[in-house]
Amino acid sequence: MSANLSGIKHTRGFDIVKPLSITMLIVMMLPLILLPMLSIFIFGTGNGLGSFWRALKAPEAVFALKLSMVTSFWATVFNLIFGLFAAYVLTKYNFWGRNAVIVTISLPTAIPTAVAGFALLLLWGPYGLFGRLVGAENTPRIMFTSYAIILANIFVTFPLAFGVIKPVLETMSTSLEEASATMGASRWQTFWHVTLPSLRGALLGGALLTFARAVGEFGSTILVSGNLALRTQTAPLYIFAKFNEGQVEAANAIAIVLALFSFAIFSILFFARDWLEAD
């Protein structure tokens, strides 16, 4: 009776939902993300690579790119150190108002960048609380200098590194630190030799995220920097200014650089973190 059961073949019908949904996904992404990205490259190189290169070598363009890199670098350094410190304190100690501190650190995520820039202006501008102190003669001015750009970058990227480091610290076993202590290590030695190495991936990730976000910052920068070519004009401001002047090709060249740059950072984030976090 059951002799020939093994001869029965089971087949499943062709599932139309699978190819259909994949196609739909790509069709949706096309006009929203892929085509805009593609047009930057098509238009930017439409007059040949030579003109693209010339647009890129314009002194104003070079300056804007450099300024973006330098200001983003310092904002990243600050927020990385701050984020690490904040994450360490907030995972290690429980105190009254701890949640309020976490919310405050995370707040810049929800604040429109134009509002952030405006707030900085009010504080550091000529009539602001700090502005009155630093605006006087023989003191350095903050607003409408590259320091203002760094301040704006720090503000808008404030929670990023913190947000990457904190969850990693939280999942770290306390017995690692206890083991280190029983073996004779001070708090600082434990932090340096045990805690920090386990955060390599998170630190790199946080740094790249902060840097990428800072390089692209526009809304707050345009308010606090003054947008002066060759003085306080960052790369995104340059794109905006050149586009307004009708120099689409100049704007486009920088846009390509920024796009490629983001792509590079994203790739590192994607691949290098696995590698760094592997034991």
Binding site: S173, S175, L176, E178, A179, S180, A181, T182, M183, G184, A185, S186, Q189, H193, V194, P197, S198, R200, D279
Partner: protein
Amino acid sequence: MPYNPEDIHITPLDVGKAAVTVIGVSKSFGAASVLDNINFSVDEDEIVVLLGASGSGKTTILRIIAGLEMPDSGMVVLHGKDVTQLPARQRGTGVIFQSYALFPKMTVESNIAYGLKIRRSNRKAIREKVDQLIELVGLGEHRKKYPSQLSGGQQQRVAIARALAYEPEVLLFDEPFGALDAQIRATLRREIRVLLKKINVPSIFITHDQEEALELGDRIGVLNAGRMEQIGTPFEVYNKPMTEFVATFLGAANILEGSIKEGRFVTEGVALELDGDGKFKDGQKVKMVFRPEDVFLRRAENLTQNYQKLADGTIKEVTFVGAFERLTVRVDLPGREEIFVNRPKTETAGFPMRAGQNVPVGLVRFRIIADQKPD
């Protein structure tokens, strides 16, 4: 002051000779008392196992000795030095954590070298010590590997080598076999005992596994709800339990309530001669404890054996469990309707038994314990 010497009234402990002495240690977390006046010591070269269920406070004792937790009162002495006030890093204990807590971003070598690096030993000395320890724990081919590339047993050996590197005052093992499966556990604990006996470092293990305690410990301390019920050699705690808890926690035990009358244990229908143990007063309420293997069953009345008859019983169930046979015997004793009996293979082969049979129940040995906890 964390302790008041006036509060400490205990059997004298030889602080001078012992590697570890815990004196009158108590600890509460909030309203919950976790440890209540704990006293014990560990000699040089000795392995002491603290045995208790979860929540018995055994982990807290270990953490207090390591300096990871502060006692509310009492003191911890390591090799004659009062370390109660010292932070963990100044005590020089070697803790083998339950999860081993190996540093994930360091190789086996670096993990082992860590304690020496912290102590700023010179490179050559570190190198030699690490080589020596890697050989001791047999991890030569794994020295460049990271902890995640090692098996549980190998990780444990790294954890031990890492603690041994800086010549610890005492090794403290926090349920070291908890994360391993049963077969590996048995092999590893034999290996570790051999290793510890070879290097002669005083050690304290904590476990909830009685078999592990019996096999590993030179002495076993049995903890119950923050109190040390008894501490003694495996033979003592198994064969001469001082409390009902110890009797039932270490191995299976049948218990009968009764009292002492004229050198006998007496309860309804039972009168057993005590062999010389005169520490119980006449009329005192006591408990009589006997282990399943202390029971002797025979089909026919046979008085050639050296046993005392307890009762007549009926075999309810016979279970074959490998090395021996486990029987449930129905009896008619006050407060007790069933007793458990183990019969070794030699017995079961000569005198097979089955359910429903009537048998006289004899006791080869038994133990009397005081009904109340001794103060």
